[in-house]
Amino acid sequence: MARAARDMDQRFGTGRRVVLDGPLRLDSGAALSPVEIAYETYGSLAEDGSNAILICHALTGDQYVASTHPVTGKPGWWTRLVGQGLPIDPARHFIICANVLGSCMGTSGPASIDPATAEPYAMHFPVITIADMVRAQALLLDHLGIERLFAVIGGSMGGMQALTWPTIFPTRVEAAIVIASTARHSAQNIAFHEVGRQAIMADPKWRGGAYYVDGDAPAAGLAVARMAAHITYLSEAGLTEKFGRRLQQRDAKTFGFDADFQVESYLRHQGISFVERFDANSYLYITRAMDYYDIADDHGGALAAAFAATRARFCLVSFDTDWLYPTAESRIIVHALNAAGREASFVELKSPFGHDSFLLDAPEMNRVIDGFLRAGRR
């Protein structure tokens, strides 16, 4: 009966949205209220609440981890890992994925209405951090009645949240899985993000972020930002294999500036399709949050100190062709976890796909995650 009651619970299911009073105290010192969170849940919460897994999404990801995206009509972004018979399985786990704070798929962000003005926040939205995203997720868990997570998992920026979780809520997390990620943004990471932000702000349609009035968004700037970022998600070898110097539907160079090369055409397509589903100001806020991210700096400069209070188990996975968050970044985390005496697993996997490997076919990654998760219930 209890299970049936939980299944009827309107808080659980796909396409959920909740408005919480907060206030959410942010790292900047500002307070956000109300806090809107859009999320999905799959599976049933166990009687004792012991099977909850929080999935954290990356910079341009969203809550549609294993269900069809309402704008693009594409399948969920992690259906290779999440689903029936997979390592994260709604038949065994209660799965939660929420749109991050600052984003644009239903959670509070710059496009949300500022209650003080009844207008969209735009650039009046407070600057947020990865830790703020995590605190917002904790608010959601409070709302869902989940005290403790069996696991928190994410890749890239999702990995940053997964790694941050046990540092802020040391007793609320039993296991953290951090994939293709880092404990801090490097100068190179920040530099690429700054290129993207400048592309958006250089678009005359950006207008200091106040483009919501007529909806004429800085699409060209956002598309360029996406194109630059997309290069960092792929490996040089992967690009060469996929496109080489092949020309796009033509036999010869045009001696002009049309997309002669397939790789140009591909990047333009990536840029154009991205602006249909993403808000330019959200891109500014979330990249800023990633640039501010430095867990050691939040703990007196010693990364190991961040993991002193938690008893969570950690699993880290990197990919050999990922040059955005290379293996060396994962090793820094592993060394800190060892120094703190935490239970940690780490493996660098081979994949030709660069940073994006974690989203693509990675059977070894699935095997590692499955074994790691099953070890939590011995």
């Binding site: 188990r313 239970e343 493996v347 070890a375």
Partner: protein
């Protein structure tokens, strides 16, 4: 218990039988985690591993072990002193760049260290070199000189000399011939394998 214990490689069987229940154990060069899994299942130890080969790490993590991909020569420095009851180095000593420093690190990290290695002074190897004039290729040392991962060949007497020189203490020692234990007498000639339990 003996079922799973005897499925282990003989030197690992010796180590498994001599580790206290519930101990904290770091296996350096843990391979696919066979020993750690056995120790966890049979002795309830807190089992951690370090392994260079990514496929082995993936296999070990997939069986639920806490194993980190890393190099014994460089990564032991990141473990705090005295964090384990036992540090284990099984059949890995002869593959490290600086075996002496690796053992030093084991004795810093662990209260005790198990070190097992193949004895290159076993009589078969001596015969191969003496009469054949060739580097020995045996059942236990199947690789040839150019493709062997063993870059620091040592004998039981070599190891004893190193222990003495560094002032470490041998708490116990076991010698193996095939899968059977053999006596101390002339171990350097007759043992294929040695397992030492050291203390700093």
């Amino acid at each position: 218990m003996s079922d799973q214990g005897s499925a282990l490689r003989p030197d690992l069987g010796v180590i498994a039988r001599n580790i206290a229940t519930g101990a904290r154990v770091l296996d350096v060069g843990c391979g696919d985690g066979s020993l750690l899994a056995a120790l966890r299942d049979l002795k309830g130890v807190d089992a951690r591993g370090l392994e260079l080969n990514a496929e082995n790490v993936a296999a070990a993590v997939a069986r639920g072990l806490s194993v980190v991909q890393g190099d014994a020569d460089t990564d032991l420095a990141y473990y705090p002193g005295g964090s384990f009851d036992y540090a284990i180095l099984s059949q890995t000593l002869q593959t490290t760049r600086r075996p002496d420093q690796v053992v030093e690190a084991l004795l810093r990290i662990g209260a005790r260290a198990f070190v097992s290695f193949p004895n290159f002074a076993h009589w078969r190897g001596r015969m191969a070199l003496l009469f054949g004039g060739r580097m020995p290729v045996t059942r236990l040392l199947p690789e040839r000189w150019y493709d062997t991962p063993n870059i620091h060949h040592l004998t039981i007497d070599d190891f004893r000399a190193l222990v003495k020189e560094r002032g470490w203490h041998i708490e116990n020692q076991w010698f193996l011939k095939g899968d059977r234990e053999t006596g101390d007498a002339n171990a350097n000639l007759f043992a294929e394998h040695a397992v030492f339990l050291l203390k700093a």
